[in-house]
């Protein structure tokens, strides 16, 4: 694949990928890392892309979702490992990397506190419920498209959304107590 062809694809989908990544990590540094890896993978695997199975947009969405979830898992593992090494090197005053600094550029200051709490709860959800919520409520994708991206049925997506909302409501009730 030629670089000009790739850069045309990049130009069309860069904002979509970046905003999706922000939905998962809520800070610009991590979203940039994720977006970079998404497009590198797109470049490496475009020869394998089958236009019959999914649209290019859906295919790139899938890469972005998987890359976001992998990034989060890797960062949690790194934090766990950092905690263990800190036990053996207590003299080090270096702060451990913050897994989750809230720095979403699309959130106004007056909404920050409210959304920071909401995202903290969304981030606790299982991956599939979280993905379904992000794609429908933040990315505003119709359920049919979400089902294609997640390679599930529409009913399965509805069920994930329902369970996700119930889990969030339950957590909010706990916090209000």
């Amino acid at each position: 694949m030629s670089l000009p062809e790739f850069e045309a694809i990049y130009k069309e989908y860069k904002d979509m990928v970046y905003n999706l990544a922000l939905g998962y990590v809520q800070n610009t540094a991590d979203a940039e890392d994720i977006a970079q890896e998404v497009f590198v993978k797109t470049y490496q695997n475009l020869a394998k892309y089958d236009a019959q199975s999914a649209s290019l947009k859906t295919w790139i969405y899938r890469i972005a979702v998987n890359q976001s979830l992998d990034f989060i898992k890797a960062k949690k593992t790194k934090k766990r490992f950092g905690f263990i090494t800190a036990l053996f090197h207590k003299e080090s005053n270096e702060p451990m990397a913050d897994v989750h600094a809230f720095d979403h550029p699309g959130v106004l200051l007056e909404d920050k506190e409210e959304l920071q709490l909401l995202f903290a709860l969304i981030n606790e959800l299982p991956d599939k419920q979280r993905t379904a919520l992000i794609l429908t409520r933040i990315e505003d994708r119709p359920q049919k498209e979400v089902a294609e991206i997640m390679e599930l049925s529409v009913k399965a997506v509805e069920s994930l959304l329902q369970r996700g909302k119930q889990a969030l409501q339950a957590r909010m009730k706990e916090l209000k107590k």
Binding site: V17, E32, Q36, G106, L108, I138, K165, L168
Partner: protein
């Protein structure tokens, strides 16, 4: 769920312009990585060949230092000396 409606307050943002520069650099490094890997593979192969040769040479030398058991008996029986000296002193 009322609280989820707050998610609609999130605005879409543009990806930073330097992101493409980073991606280009990553793709360029992927293309460069292959020759570096070949160098490592070549070095590892050379090391392996050297190690095998050294082992073969050492094994041959050890074998040459010790005469065969049957030959040892003949040497002893005929009072022959393994050294190159002509006379026993």
């Amino acid at each position: 769920m009322k609280e989820l409606e707050s998610l609609s307050k999130i605005n879409k943002v543009e990806a930073p312009p330097f992101l493409l520069t980073r991606i280009r650099a990553r793709i360029a490094s992927l293309n460069e990585a292959a020759p570096v890997q070949w160098k490592w593979a070549l070095a590892a192969t050379a090391l392996l060949v050297f190690a095998l040769n050294a082992a073969a040479i050492l094994k041959t030398e050890i074998k040459n230092d010790r005469p065969e058991p049957g030959l040892e008996q003949v040497i002893k029986g005929m009072n022959l000396s393994p050294s190159n000296g002509l006379y026993d002193e």
